[in-house]
Subunit: 323 residues, 2 copies
């Protein structure tokens, strides 16, 4: 950012505060790049966040997540809700190719100043939501967006991460069989607040929706707990969108009762502090000259089988003190 | 383990050294449970590992990984190679149901004292190889197994983990289209040393194999670098198994040239030390009373938006000293 980086940042933040989308886009790039500049941006942005509601959309690739996000976005815009869309999905049309219908919907959406769309690189080639998803959501929140829609592909560990980032998790499934889909479903069952059986025109969709309902009912839930509804949709034909929006709102209202949303927001912040702290510790410890010295002296013993990796770890651990 | 845990462990290790599979199985359970007993086992086991060759088998669920592992195991046994099989795949027949042919192969295999088969719980519902895969592989190595075959489902971040655990990574794909498979393939392309296009009886299998070859050829590889072969197999009919085994051996020989295998083994050990150290640090730091006190005092400011999560992290960081 050069020697007058602080000044540049100041100008950028001012333009952001005046509502310029280009400034928001540039700030997001700074957040993506991380480091001290990203932390300075966060210092300025974080207090301005007003508590936008965050909705995660996840499911196997090809289940129609992006199409549904587009439909829900259009619906929210018709109600004049300011929205932000974050796509952390390499297979998403937000990040690349799209069906023709989606592409037209995308164009309408991106031409609307009430919507801010951003796709972020995912951490892995496929799994894992971006490291800065939370921060970008904060920024869109501070930019005045009232609802943040986050699309992420639901495979592996990312499914847990989206539940730690958003307030309502929408799990989108299709009536497909196959071991792959079955295994993914198993993980996704744990995190959904609302389930969608997309491709309602498929002959097996009602049966598949029923199966999910049955699985959910088998779980032992305490009295008054949220029971996730299963909504049948057809993203292609735009059917079931209103019902999906209603289910999301219903979950939102549920969370607002008995301070559940406050508790959830706090839990999310605590887990953010924890993971940011551990990321920093990893760098700090691993770059430390004393740690590096022990490591270079003793790793040979591990290579030769004279020392188990755990004993070396214990030696390293002795160098770290907490006051 | 009771008050004479150390003595029990001693007996168990002795029986393990005498070659009793039941003792090996019990020690694996101790490794799975983790903590101090696991570390004691590792202290005893680790120096006895002789450097077994580790082969990872990964790919989308339903691609036929387990069937191929069974076929390769049978082939290795006919050559009198002592083998260990670790399945970290919730969809694997090693862990549950199987095709009839596989079940028969499994029975033959498990009746053979030259084979030790163990399935491990995966960390996530689907993604992630087990935390103790490396340790179990060490144990099987110390038990006299010459080749360790590790089967893991290739989704999300686990694909990277298997590459950090094994010497040769075999990526198994099927000639299936669909966004899901495409996205998985994208991540798997990065880590394969040998590619398998299974279900060679499928009409599109040759075309699909050709596509993978083309993708691999597009990569800019330095002179003398390994170019992953693509092998057509039919796990169902047992075709292409010999060719697959030859490709794996060829990669093994390639690694043995110019100290590549030594380097790879070291890299794997370094990354094990690093991740074990960070796991330990996370517990140590997070359980520390001083850290907990700052956290409970200041987290409220984060909740109220007065303090960004990063500034709190910086405050926490000041308490950690490295000498």
């Amino acid at each position: 950012m050069g020697s007058n980086g602080g000044q540049d940042l100041q100008v950028l933040i001012e333009r952001f505060e005046q509502g310029h989308a280009t400034a928001a886009a540039r700030l997001i790039t700074i957040l993506e790049n991380g480091g001290e500049p990203a932390e300075s941006v966060m210092d300025r942005i974080f207090p301005k966040a007003r508590g936008a509601y965050r909705i995660g959309f996840t499911g196997p690739p090809g289940a129609g997540k992006s199409s549904l996000v587009l439909h829900i976005s259009q619906l929210l815009r018709r109600r004049d809700v300011q929205i932000g869309v974050i796509a952390v999905d390499p297979t998403s049309p937000f990040s690349g190719g799209a069906l023709l219908g989606d592409r037209i919907r995308m164009q309408r959406l991106t031409g609307d100043p009430g919507v801010f769309v951003r796709s972020l690189a995912s951490r892995g080639s496929l799994g894992g939501i971006s490291n800065c998803t939370d921060e970008v959501a904060d920024l869109l929140d501070a930019f005045g967006k009232e609802m943040i829609l986050i699309e992420t592909v639901g495979v592996g560990q990312s499914e847990l991460e989206i539940a730690e980032t958003t307030h309502t998790v929408v799990v989108i499934l299709v009536p497909e069989s196959g071991d792959g889909i079955q295994a993914m479903k198993a993980g996704l069952m744990e995190i959904g607040d609302v389930f969608v059986m997309n491709k309602a025109d498929h002959p097996d969709s009602e049966l598949a929706a029923k199966e999910i309902e049955d699985t959910l009912r088998l779980k032992n839930v305490p009295d008054g707990a949220w029971i996730p509804p299963v909504v049948l949709t057809s993203a292609l034909e735009g059917r079931g969108i209103k019902e999906l929006a209603e289910s999301i709102e219903k979950h939102h209202r549920y969370l607002e009762e008995e301070d559940r949303l406050v508790e959830k927001r706090r839990r999310i912040l605590r887990s953010r502090v924890r993971s940011a702290f551990m990321d920093r510790m990893e760098r700090k410890i691993w770059d430390d000259p004393s740690v590096r010295e022990i490591l270079s002296e003793r790793i040979g013993d591990v290579y030769e089988g004279r020392l188990s990796p755990y004993r070396l770890v214990q030696e390293l651990e002795k160098r770290v003190k907490i006051e």
